[in-house]
Symmetry: C2
Subunit: 462 residues, 2 copies
């Protein structure tokens, strides 16, 4: 305890007493994250206001062998930001400056605590846009987005968060700063270290600054809802559209019949189609001008209908109609009230296998839990499938359900986490997507960069 | 020596006597690479014909503490594939199979020894294209392209080699296989290990298989040659075109006046412009159909002329004219005969700084070597500048010239190697683009994955 007293006094000396919260004064919200993990109260919640302060905190933690859990916007769904009872939680919320936006080179530099929304807005003010978007944009922080290699709505066009990162500043466990902020797209000078920290969920170092690339804003965007009688049709249409509009297919969200039925019932909506179909896809395509884009999409749709790649389709005639079509994709907002409770999966699979996977998964669950309620939907254009089961319909056997689903994911050579990460929650299933040799190599890297195992201990692997 | 006899006998047992060449039977071409490094004869040249054989070779080398230098097409310009006199050279040339092409998911799997050209052709046969292209395509191997994170002609649209890699199979120094071949774009399950090996120039492991993403082929492509009175104009036009044709500007190659003058003189060509300009840019833009693309580009050119972002421009009216315009960019093929000898630089800089950098570089060299002949050109759209000096014009003071140029690159926060890598040749300048802390982190990673320092020792850093 005496050591902790010394440590805490040194901490207060380094960052100021008001930046070190203890005991009851630590907000409940900082004791867990959106994953719903039971709260853990850390030794202290520390809120440095500058890179120098953050370094000082890490140096002190290193000297006293105190674990550090980096905390961004706490919107993670895998529990990676849940505090460690014997360590500090290091909040980035006071390091939220947008430091520079350069429209000429299409780059933006920010401190890691800046919210995703503030990054998006700064890009827009410069006449550009940022390539990553997700529902938690108002709360999640860019440092957390990088640490978890966030996915979301822009992946089909711009790739994951990793593809947006030109540079990072990272502080290692011992307080060493790695200044990897050179803005060049091309820099083949030794190992590209920044990639080691992207997606490492805070286990290798603390991300303090990010240098991001921005993209041009599209002049036109259109939405269509397509209906399919089989998965192979959807795959053929996706391929056709990506061939006809290279790099401009912005969304291809597939929804299985049961998802659509629930969405319409919960929202009191009606399908634009006269009959039901096994699959619907919401598709966004961007172009250089409204009328030619609309015309080109209509032309491709006609060819697709002729080639029997689509059973029926509606092309939005206005922004209002586009929003209307998108509404059913927003049904997951109803999950917490309609399902008891929802059990969520975020998996990815080799693209051509998704239809067969969903059918086999349904069959397996049917056998074990007759009458279970399971919905399939997702950013299928990039191989990402979301599955949500009503907990009550599987008698709340969550662990058994997970084992069943992840075993099938493994059999299909898929990933147990497409975009949410491993954190605490998916640790038991890491081996379903990574070989023992890969996990051993990860451990060797961890040992090399954080030999005392102080950075976010117990996350990703033990 | 006895140990070597045992080792060589074991090697022959593992891969067959015909796969182990020694002494005079080792071809001269395998004793160096395109960098012009003096040849080094290895202990043996080993040519495994399968992944299993490659693993067996690495296990034997590990057991006997014999260094391994992986060799692809030997087209590298930094000396990374030059043999080690006390070790083996491991040639991938017998592992060149294209194993699978899947047009539905847009993926291609190949063994590491497949040439870049064979990858490109397989993609084209499937109605798609591969995003990386470079002059050495017929000789260079895809494993080497990955190990050096190759750049080349497609970077502006598709990014570097790293962005094309969905998965890798890598053999570590001790023979452990890391099977990282899952084809999903989204896979957030622990550290994304494949990124550790991309651009590591064979110092962390042997790449044996690659899984690549393919892109749709464009329906239309047009070429224009634009003339500028200042760098800022070129930057403004690039920004305008990238805004008007997002993800479709395929090339933006800038050529300074002296480069253009030499190109026209050597090739016996004539400029399409009535006067000379400080800068010309060759620009390729892709679209969905010929006529609308031509029209849209003309429209943007008119706006650019009005905004004084361009001094003059020629838009190719045919493929033949496009090839004619591109001819002057191919002048580097004349360097070996016209310069005595050429001293080449491959640097990258923050995009908006390239004009100022070139001017300052010229001024510094003018002061030290009055009358020197230095040409500036490059893939400027992605920040990459090539500089070539006639060795005779700087009295063959190559080391002094390098020190001068790289010091300025460091002062501008640029990279001493944009796309060629560090290898042997740029080791003295690595610290100009990476901090001591970054280099220490690289060494820690090397120590973690190759503790005996057997993989390509002495390359990238000592």
């Amino acid at each position: 305890m005496n050591t902790h007293t010394d440590f805490l006094a040194a901490l207060q000396g380094a960052v100021g007493a008001d930046a070190v919260l203890r005991g009851e004064s630590i907000p409940a919200a900082c004791q867990s994250d959106w994953s719903g993990t039971p709260p853990v109260r850390p030794l202290a919640l520390v809120r440095p206001a500058s890179i120098d302060e953050a370094c000082a905190v890490l140096r002190l933690c290193h000297a006293h062998h105190i674990p550090v859990v980096p905390q961004g916007g706490l919107t993670g769904l895998a529990g990676a930001a849940v505090p460690h009872a014997g360590g500090i939680a290091l909040s980035l919320q006071r390091m939220a400056a947008i430091e520079a936006v350069d429209p000429r080179s299409g780059t933006l530099q920010a401190q890691a605590g800046a919210t995703l929304q503030s990054i998006q807005q700064a890009a827009e003010q410069a006449g550009l846009r940022f390539g990553v978007d997700l529902g938690a944009r108002g709360s999640c922080q860019i440092g957390g987005n990088v640490a978890t290699n966030a996915g979301g709505n822009g992946v089909l066009q711009f790739g994951m968060m990793r593809e947006q990162v030109l540079g990072l500043e990272v502080v290692l466990a011992d307080g060493t700063v790695l200044p990897m902020l050179r803005p060049m797209l091309k820099n083949n000078t030794g190992y590209d270290l920044k990639h080691f920290f992207i997606g490492a969920e805070g286990t290798l170092g603390l991300i303090t600054r990010v240098l991001l690339r921005l993209h041009p804003r599209p002049a036109a965007r259109t939405t269509l809802l397509a209906a399919f009688s089989a998965f192979e049709q959807a795959l053929a249409l996706l391929q056709r559209l990506q061939g006809a509009f290279p790099a401009r297919v912005a969304a291809f969200e597939l929804m299985w019949e049961r998802f659509v039925t629930c969405a319409l019932r919960w929202q009191g909506g009606a399908s634009p189609f006269a009959q039901t179909y096994p699959l619907l896809a919401l598709i966004d395509i961007e172009g250089d001008a409204d009328a030619p884009l609309q015309e080109a999409v209509q032309e491709q749709l006609a060819l697709a209908l002729e080639a029997q790649e689509v059973a029926d389709a509606v092309l939005a005639q206005s922004q209002a109609q586009a929003r209307q079509l998108w509404r059913m994709r927003e049904a997951p907002a109803e999950f917490p009230t309609q399902l008891h409770p929802p059990i969520n999966f975020d998996v990815s699979l080799p693209l051509p296998e998704i239809g067969r996977f969903a059918a086999q998964c349904q069959q397996r669950l049917d056998e074990r839990w007759p009458g279970h309620a399971t919905l399939y939907f997702g950013h299928v254009g990039d191989g990402n499938l979301h599955i949500t089961t009503d907990g009550a319909s599987v008698h709340h056997e969550e662990a058994a359900l997970e084992a069943e689903v992840y075993a099938l994911v493994e059999a299909f050579g898929g990933s147990v986490s497409a975009e949410h990460g491993i954190g605490l929650h998916k640790k038991p299933y890491l081996r379903a997507s990574r070989s023992p040799q890969e996990i051993a190599a990860m451990r060797a890297i961890k040992q090399a960069l954080d030999p005392l195992h102080l950075m976010n201990p117990g996350k990703v692997f033990n």
